[in-house]
Symmetry: C2
Subunit: 197 residues, 2 copies
């Protein structure tokens, strides 16, 4: 057994190491035993902090998704930008973030795509958070008289659904087509026009 590190074994440290192991071995080969080995502990110790491999992977997934939510929250709650323009910025930031992640490290992105498919509950929560941000932006626009929507949450959901091709990881392959930007802009323009007062 490798010389024990003095650091205590915390959920946080396990999560970091799990990310690292997933990055190195991919979603199918990464095992709890690998994580334990990388931490220099027995795999039984990992089970002291997470009840199952599934729970561990779920926690990693949640952590990863949380980063985008925070970034987008910055745009959603920034004062001073009018709602229509803010809506466009938000959608562009969402697409740009996804595309960047996928382009920078395709293998890691593929790994997380697998994790996402495994953890539909976590994904649902995440999507709800994003749609909440959209709801707030649209509500702002309705209050200011620049946007119109009979049912604001439904409109937010519709905007999210309509732009799915540009944020749903199932479409990664299309995000690097030469025409994708034009297509994205056309959908965003259509959607914003549909929402204008």
């Amino acid at each position: 057994m490798p010389s024990a590190a003095a650091e205590p074994l915390t959920p946080e440290r396990i999560l970091e190491t799990t990310e690292e192991v997933l990055r190195r071995f991919g979603p199918t080969k990464a095992t709890v035993v690998d994580v334990a080995r990388a931490l220099g502990v027995s795999h039984g110790s990992v089970y002291r902090h997470f009840p199952s491999k599934a729970a561990l992977r779920e926690a990693v997934t949640d952590r990863w998704l949380a980063k985008s939510v925070v970034m987008l929250e910055g745009i959603a709650s920034a004062p001073g930008e009018a709602a229509p323009s803010k809506l466009e910025s938000w959608l562009e930031a969402l697409f740009e973030a996804k595309r960047h992640k996928a382009g920078d490290d395709p293998e890691l992105f593929a790994t997380y795509t697998v994790l996402l498919a495994e953890n539909s509950g976590v994904v649902d929560t995440h999507l709800t958070e994003l749609i909440d941000q959209l709801t707030r932006i649209i509500a702002e626009g309705v209050a200011a008289g620049t946007l119109a929507a009979p049912d604001v949450p439904a409109a937010a959901r519709a905007v999210f659904d309509a732009t799915g091709r540009f944020h749903d990881p199932q479409y990664v392959a299309e995000w690097f087509s030469p025409t994708i930007t034009t297509e994205f802009e056309a959908v965003v323009a259509l959607v914003i026009r549909g929402l204008r007062a």
Copy 2:
């Protein structure tokens, strides 16, 4: 060998039998040998009409997709319906057709979903045909002054992309959620509002 049928071996007959074999065995188990056996010929004879298994499966896929195109063409080219309403009818028919196919025989639908993933070229052609129909509907509306779009083909493409969740087979699982109809209507309303003159 089974008693030879008098009927000549035609590409058409091979295609029908291939569909039948795919229906019975599914996309992973169906083999060229199975098709030949069902036809009462040797598998070498099948290769006389189709150069490869891939070409055979591609032809079956093409045939299947062609059916929807014909049905939707009926709506697209029907006279007497104003463009905004026709656009809505067309999108509803597309969604309804897909949902029906998927609900009636989920296994067969899953089989064709695999075939679709294998034959992206055929799918691309099919999508182009559908977007052409949309282009014609929108052009009609622009000519009549009921719709507005600076670039009609781009708008057609945007409408198709925006409604992807309701026709892309990757989303089958969601087509039977209790809220899907509401969500579909919200997206269609948003899109049509975005196109109105």
